[in-house]
């Protein structure tokens, strides 16, 4: 299979489409998260970047940083991977917010707390995909999310292992969710499957 990321038409044809998708889709995802938490959550300017796989473990502050990853797949015409990564301490605070307890209440992430975080993945993923469906007419359904509490690099291995057989790069739509105090709340990544990008390039979508 031809590596779709090095395709000569990537920059002129694919990038503008993905930028619209990232902008609208991620804005919609953060709107969902604001509604869910009752907090004003903002988002940095979404980016479309081609990232070498070898750089991925270092993208979120260091490979051994303790983090929580919520991972889901999108299935359908716009298939791909969706990953939300929270710094561990932020995840604890977010759980307090979700279960309406004072900040500092949640000290560890058991089954109940993890399911609250899974719901955040579910909601932001669904809002993103709904937006893409409305904009581009591409149907996709999110799978149930998986929650990982581990070192950043181990969490991101899921993305790396999925992509490494096809390419040395992943094409990533990404943004950082911020709360009022401008502290980073979460990184939101969408990685469309290569076959989706190929379909875009060939004008099938």
């Amino acid at each position: 299979m031809k590596d779709p990321y090095t395709h000569e038409q990537f920059s002129e044809k694919l990038r503008p489409l993905l930028e619209v998708m990232a902008g609208e889709g991620i804005q919609n995802a953060v709107k969902g998260l604001s509604q869910m938490t009752g907090q004003q959550i903002t988002v940095t300017e979404p980016e479309v970047t081609l990232v070498p796989l070898v750089n991925i473990p270092d993208l979120l502050g260091g490979p051994e940083n303790e983090a929580v990853g919520v991972y889901l797949r999108a299935e359908g015409e716009m298939s791909g991977q969706i990953m939300l990564v929270f710094p561990y301490e932020r995840a604890l605070k977010l759980v307090d917010l979700l279960i309406d307890e004072p900040e500092g209440t949640t000290q560890h992430l058991g089954a109940y707390e993890r399911s609250a975080l899974a719901e955040v993945g579910n909601l932001t993923g669904s809002f993103f995909l709904n937006s893409v469906a409305t904009m581009l007419g591409l149907e996709a359904r999110p799978t149930p999310p998986a929650v990982m509490v581990d070192m950043v690099a181990a969490i991101l291995d899921v993305i790396i292992a999925t992509a490494a057989g096809v390419s040395e790069h992943v094409l990533m739509l990404s943004a950082t969710f911020m709360q009022g105090d401008r502290e980073a709340e979460a990184s939101f990544w969408v990685i469309p499957d290569p076959r989706v990008l190929e379909a875009f390039l060939e004008g099938k979508n």
Partner: protein, 162 residues
Amino acid sequence: MNNIVVGLGEVKISNNPNDILVAYGLGSCLGIAMYDPVTHVAGMVHAVLPSCDDTTEINEACSKYVCCGLEVLLQKMLRAGALRTRIVIRMAGGANMLASTTFSDVMNIGFRNIESSRRKLSEMKFKIAGEEVGGNIGRTVRFYVADGRMAIRMMGGKERDV
């Protein structure tokens, strides 16, 4: 001590007793190390995927695959002065990060990495002296060139030997 980072798909070799070969935060990836206790030549591969097809040429570009990575690692060990019959193997990693979810069956790359390395090492007539593989937790792996010791650390835990 000097940390030498073994990144994704890389093979690193050293015979400097002050060096430690380190692969940070392995999830489904495997860190497989070789050591010659006489010449103190140590090497590690950080493999990402189980196997390449048979037609793939063995070179560093394919060392992200367990099967090819082991061949590249062995070649580099021998070139650095290791004797094949003295080589000791240790490995760690191969977790299933998506355990107990709808993903676990189809996407258990960690398990397939472990299987692939055991098969390949057996073909190469190597025995595994120590391992800490599988489960669903990430591991940082350190391999000490001075004595061939492999140690792992998990989130919130202390380092311990494999």
